[in-house]
């Protein structure tokens, strides 16, 4: 026999999402508090503008609220689901408002963040750190292309223009980088 704790801090993500669907204010607050840093972080990383990022983050929660009842646990975690929503909305916003997809200094800073592997992280074995190590092992130009496409949502043509390389080269960098990271992840998963 066991009893369940009634603190929101111990409620699983899926349960909070169920509560969000009911519109219960306590659940809505708890849900927003738990995920707002993640959602805003994704939007800000893509957009680099706090006002736009806030708009996107708010839209993300609105969308999650509308679709909470059709969320399927078999298709990923709640956090991953929210991250994908925020990312898609941020890219749509970026494409609609930005002439240049990404400032070079922003790209360099973000590349540093996603490839930073100090010892503490290098020893970690969760899936995020495995991805981090895999990206860090890529040749610089492939890592840049992968981040431009995978995070900033830039097409191969936009990557080519930004890097001043032929379209075919940009496509190859995106593809090779993606396949290498996937291969490195699968190698580690089999260990």
């Amino acid at each position: 026999m066991w009893r369940m704790g009634l603190s929101f801090g111990r409620v699983p993500d899926e349960a909070l999402l169920s509560g969000l669907a009911t519109g219960d204010p306590e659940f809505v607050v708890a849900f927003v508090r738990r995920f707002q840093r993640t959602v805003f972080g994704v939007a800000f990383a893509v957009l680099g503008d706090p006002q736009l990022a806030e708009d996107v983050a708010q839209q993300t929660f609105e969308r999650a609220w509308r679709h909470a009842q059709v969320y399927d646990t078999r298709r990923g975690s709640v956090r991953s689901w929210l991250t994908t929503i925020a990312h898609n909305l941020a890219i749509d916003t970026a494409r609609a408002r930005r002439a240049s997809p990404v400032a070079p200094e922003d790209l360099d800073a973000l590349l540093g963040v996603v490839t930073e592997t100090p010892e503490r992280r290098a020893l970690a074995d969760d899936s995020a750190e495995r991805v981090r190590r895999a990206v860090a092992e890529l040749p610089r130009e492939q890592a840049r292309a992968l981040v431009m496409a995978g995070i900033y949502g830039m097409t191969a043509r936009e990557v080519a223009d930004t890097e001043h390389v032929p379209l075919g080269t940009a496509k190859t960098r995106i593809r090779t980088g993606t396949l290498k990271v996937r291969a490195l992840l699968e190698t580690e998963e089999k260990r």
Binding site: M4, L6, P25, F27, V32, F40, T83, R132, V147, T178
Partner: protein
């Protein structure tokens, strides 16, 4: 589009950056090619993994309030504390079921009877409202995985007294006991093995010790 061409575009497709026209052709190919579909799904994990590396950031002051307003949520009335506690327990129980762990949980319930509003949450977890006198007084969840479990949470008001019995109702109208549990101030939450295939359960009834129906629920069709 053939497999060879699809494989040239696989990463751009998986990362969501393929231009619309090529994307339409690629998706059409995936619809009829399971191998390429699986291949692209595996690459999609790379994009998801990249997003997971992005650092969190604190949104501007007032963000939470603005989101609440946009969702139409207002400050909770004090009277809601009890209801919130009930929903929280039920939702936590349901999530525990999905995660594959469980056991007995005991709390409390009381009075009334009625039909139910219900909704389906996913392939293995069914949810329904427990109703009494036309009002929702709790939620019940039936999970068909790992032997079958039933969880519920009820709040029938502070004057309610236990113990109460839970009967599972089957499609042919028969019932099977799921267990008895006490109430505390009319409130209780609990869970137990269903002792039967939850997929065959169409509803549930809570009864007093004298057999009076206190609340009822009806699950959606599987």
């Amino acid at each position: 589009m053939e497999c060879e061409r699809l494989r040239e575009l696989d990463a751009e497709l998986a990362l969501g950056v393929l231009p619309a026209r090529e994307r339409a052709d690629a998706v059409a190919h995936l619809d009829r090619c399971p191998d390429c579909r699986e291949h692209v799904e595996r690459l999609t994990a790379v994009g998801d993994g990249l997003l997971a590396l992005l650092p969190g950031a604190e949104p501007p002051v007032g963000f939470e309030s603005r989101v609440l307003r946009s969702l139409g949520a207002r400050s909770a009335p004090k009277r809601r504390v009890r209801r919130q506690r009930l929903r929280l327990a039920a939702a936590a129980a349901a999530a525990a079921l999905v995660c594959g762990f469980g056991g007995w949980t005991v709390g409390t319930v009381v009075e009334g009877a009625a039909p139910a509003v219900s909704q389906r949450t996913d392939g293995t977890l069914r949810e329904a409202a427990l109703r009494s006198g036309g009002h929702e007084v709790g939620r019940i969840y039936a999970h068909s995985g790992s032997g079958g479990w039933v969880y519920m949470s009820v709040d029938l008001g502070p004057t309610a007294r236990g113990p109460v019995r839970c009967l599972l109702v089957h499609a042919d109208g028969s019932t099977s006991p799921a267990g008895s549990f006490p109430l505390k101030d009319g409130y209780g939450y609990w869970g137990a093995p269903s002792g039967t295939d939850p997929a065959s359960v169409t509803g549930a009834r809570l009864t007093a010790t004298d057999g009076t129906v206190l609340a009822a629920a009806q699950f959606p069709h599987a």
